[in-house]
């Protein structure tokens, strides 16, 4: 009897710690918004909100993939390069092979999936450590992207290539008295819609599907999962394919926004993705992590960048601050887990 009450009290403090952690990330997000609203009048506006959301999409999409991979106990360092390769392939498909834009982008996204699939093979079949496997892919994908473009930007893609990245839903434009168009509501950019839909879908997958359950089980204890009949290789491979696919999608979105494909796009994005997952409470040991946490993490990074920019803080100082934020949140996480 005594041990139940004991466990009860452990659980309570456990739950409290969980809440503190969740609020630590979410609370710091609110604090950031409040501070930046005070220091810059242009910060708390619909326009800037949409700008931030748009900037956050790439981090969030990559972060969602990274979260799934990290929950299994892996890591994906290749997404920055893979997004460049995917975007470049999509652009070349349009310019050189004359493929219609939607199909070209599908080819681009599938290029990302292929890279993820190879990562999965390297990790599950060749038993390479995920760090090494995806480090290799990071170099290879970047190299291929530079090779096939001759290290030059791919431009002249036509207006339709820019729709995915620049278009928006519910955009309200009125023609003013002076005859110039007047944007009364900037609309919700397509990338933001994509981000929200994918975040909800992956979150459902993790929380409500058998596959999601297996992803957590593999990360919590892969031996136990295997001995319980979970197809560990397939589950792990899936997370890399998902991460690669989302990298491919991110690549298409980014290149579409610029209407130019840059083989040098996305350098170091993998670190933003991992950082957003980690700030959101994902454990690099595996078994722990949520999409909502990662979304908060992505917004923390995005809002920090945006707000600091608006306050004229240099890019170098921004790096220092974001570095400190990562260290701080993970330290809080460690405190929470130390018992």
């Amino acid at each position: 009897m005594a041990d139940i009450s004991e466990q009860g009290s452990v659980r309570l403090s456990d739950r409290q710690k969980d809440i503190i952690q969740k609020f630590a990330a979410l609370g710091s997000l609110f604090v950031l918004v409040a501070v930046f609203s005070l220091t810059s009048s242009a910060f708390f506006t619909v326009n800037n909100g949409m700008t931030i959301a748009l900037q956050v999409t790439s981090i969030a999409l990559l972060g969602i993939g990274a979260t799934c991979v990290i929950i299994t106990g892996g890591i994906d360092l290749s997404v920055g390069s893979v997004l460049a390769l995917s975007g470049v392939v999509a652009a070349l498909a349009v310019r050189d092979w004359g493929v219609p834009v939607p199909f070209a982008m599908l080819i681009g996204i599938l290029t990302g999936s292929l890279c993820g699939w190879i990562n999965g093979l390297l990790v599950t079949k060749m038993k390479l450590p995920p760090f090494i496997a995806t480090l290799g892919m990071m170099l290879i994908a970047r190299g291929v992207a530079l090779q096939i473009t001759g290290a030059r930007a791919v431009s002249g893609l036509g207006e339709s290539f820019g729709v995915l990245g620049n278009g928006s839903l519910f955009r309200v434009v009125t023609i003013g008295d002076d005859g110039f168009p007047n944007v009364s509501f900037p609309g919700i950019p397509y990338p933001v819609i994509l981000m929200v839909v994918i975040a909800i879908a992956v979150s459902m997958m993790l929380n409500r599907s058998v596959l999601g359950r297996h992803i957590y089980a593999v990360g919590s204890n892969s031996d136990a999962a295997r001995l319980s009949g979970v197809n560990v290789s397939r589950v792990v491979s899936f997370t890399y394919v998902l991460s690669g696919t989302l990298a491919g999608l991110t690549g298409c979105v980014l290149m579409s926004r610029l209407v130019t494909a840059q083989p040098n796009e996305g350098v170091m994005y993998e670190l933003d993705a991992i950082a957003s997952a980690v700030i959101g409470g994902t454990s690099l040991i595996g078994g722990v992590g949520t999409i909502s946490g990662t979304a908060i993490g992505a917004f923390v990074i995005g809002i920090l960048r945006n707000g600091l920019n608006m306050n004229g803080v240099s890019a170098f100082t921004q790096q220092i601050i974001i570095g400190l934020v990562i260290l701080g949140t993970v330290w809080i996480d460690q405190l929470r887990n130390r018992r």
């Binding site: 452990v10 659980r11 409500r208 599907s209 058998v210 957590y216 089980a217 204890n221 136990a224 009949g229």
Partner: protein
């Protein structure tokens, strides 16, 4: 109590010798568990003092208190005449108390010499003085009469050799108290003899040795006194030669076998539901065959490393098989992964709960349903949470799992409850054959009894039950027949009611049937 204990000690040791180490009234409480209560123990120089008790009796807790891993809740530790408290293993080691764990703690990629002097390397300026390191290590090994090149990497050594290196390391620390935890469990007879020779030499040089082992039969050769613990309580200390193995066992068990095990309800029939033949995994086990009858509990006995667990894991598809056939209900099975085995209706409760049985960070419900997610999800692979939670609640109730809720992470539950969760996971799979590998290791008495009852009920329902256990009383109390393993083979299948510990041990050590 204090007084009585003192009288016993006085009888056991001559009064003029002063105890090297003396523990009095040691109590250790963990949240909700009394691990040790009022335990006495003393050790004289040049003595081998065995500590005996069943799993969970408190032996390892006591050792952890002596070596400073745990702090006692109350009680006194007097070491070399001084009241001592060791705050960490480093402190006890510095004071001259060394422990040699069952799982050896050497760095495989370093040489023998580097291991012996790890973190205390002789230096010349900033550099390691390799010459001195080598010479010192050689001296250590020579003192033990061991012929190992100090330059050899530890990964190339046998288990016995590694153990010798650990002892050498302990001696290089000028250890006066040496704790040996199951030192012979993975040694051959020849290696054991060598170890005993080393232990005799250590005794002669005045080292006090605390010897923990399940192998009572071996103790005669080296042990001077024996202390028995049971359920965290001190039972007795005796001169080994004034007592018998049977007396020691009786003190360890404390009650008759009938009370420890439930009455068997299931009865073996003639119908064979599962059989295996010619099972071979090169270098691990060979030509293993057995059959399992409806209603029967079959025991797998034998020493560690004899092949019991390895055979079960191979049948379950966790390790590859090189040859052999597996038949269930007359149908030959092809198993190449745990998935295949589970689909065929085989369940395997692994011996290492935390490492292989549980998704430790996940809650109770997720662990119960893990092996059978198809049952609690729809055609699109989405979990049906109403069904899912009902299943979890049902098994929590059925198995009397003590948890505040089904959302409790399993790592916060006790060992017995964790084990019940794994059992629940397999019961939900509705297995046809279930292997229980050391199901009661490190579990409290009440939970043990419950697990035995479950096994019996499963057998009564017609599910094949195999009990793999190192504890002979458990084998004798629960099984109908017992297959004894030695060196990767089954050396005999005995009718449990016609056998005894002694006969099983004979088969387990490869001697075969008793000569009449």
């Amino acid at each position: 109590m204090q007084h009585k204990a003192d009288i016993r000690h006085a009888r056991a040791a001559s009064p003029e010798r002063r105890a090297l180490l003396r523990l009095d009234g040691i109590t250790k409480e963990f949240p909700g568990v009394m691990a040790l209560s009022d335990v006495h123990f003393d050790l004289f120089p040049g003595e081998v003092h065995a500590v005996c008790g069943e799993n969970g009796a408190g032996k390892s807790t006591l050792m952890k208190i002596i070596s400073g891993v745990y702090q006692p809740t109350s009680g006194s530790i007097v070491y070399k005449g001084q009241e001592s408290r060791f705050a960490s293993p480093l402190e006890s080691e510095a004071a001259g108390i060394a422990i040699i764990h069952q799982e050896l703690n050497l760095v495989p990629h370093l040489s023998v010499a580097e291991n012996i002097y790890l973190a205390r390397e002789p230096r010349r300026g900033f550099l390691v003085d390799r010459k001195k390191l080598r010479a010192d290590a050689k001296r250590c090994l020579d003192r033990l009469g061991i012929d190992i090149d100090p330059e050899t990497h530890v990964r190339n050594l046998s288990v016995a050799q590694s153990q010798m290196v650990e002892i050498a390391k302990a001696l290089s620390l000028d250890a006066e108290v040496l704790i040996m935890d199951e030192p012979t469990s993975s040694l051959t007879e020849q290696e054991t003899n060598l170890l005993f020779q080393v232990i005799r030499d250590l005794k002669a040089s005045g080292v006090g040795i605390i010897y923990i082992s399940h192998r009572l039969d071996e103790m005669e050769e080296i042990v001077d006194r024996v202390t028995v613990l049971r359920d965290g309580r001190y039972i007795a200390t005796d001169n080994f030669h004034d007592t018998t193995v049977n007396e020691i066992v009786a003190k360890m068990v404390g009650r008759s076998l009938e009370e420890k095990f439930p009455e068997r309800l299931s009865e073996p029939s003639e119908e064979i539901i599962f059989s295996a033949g010619g099972l071979t995994r090169r270098g691990v086990f060979s030509d293993v065959g057995f059959s399992l009858r409806r209603g029967e509990i079959l025991g797998f006995s034998g020493l560690m490393g004899a092949g019991r667990t390895e055979v079960a894991r191979a049948i379950f598809g966790a390790d590859p098989l090189d040859a052999g056939t597996i038949t269930m209900h007359g149908e030959t099975l092809t198993i190449s992964s745990p998935r295949d085995a589970i689909a065929a209706g085989i369940a395997y409760l692994s011996e290492d709960r935390k490492a292989q049985g549980l998704a430790i960070k996940m809650p109770v419900d997720a662990n119960v349903t893990l092996a059978n997610m198809d049952e609690v999800s729809n055609g699109f692979g989405m979990i049906d949470f109403a069904k899912h939670n009902k299943v979890a609640n049902d098994y929590v109730e059925l198995l009397d799992i003590r948890t505040p809720s089904i959302k409790q992470p399993v790592r916060l539950l006790s060992g017995g409850n964790q084990q019940k969760i794994i059992i629940g996971k397999w019961l939900f799979r509705k297995p046809k054959v279930m292997f229980f590998d050391e199901p009661t290791r490190g579990i409290d008495v009440g939970a043990k009894f419950a697990i035995y009852k479950i096994m019996d009920e499963l057998a009564a329902e017609g599910i094949g039950v195999v009990l793999i256990s190192s504890e002979l009383p458990e084998i004798l109390g629960m099984t109908d027949r017992v297959a004894v393993f030695h060196g990767g083979r089954i050396t005999g299948v005995l009718e449990t009611r016609n056998t005894d510990q002694e006969e099983i041990m004979r088969y387990a050590s490869g001697y075969g049937p008793k000569a009449h």
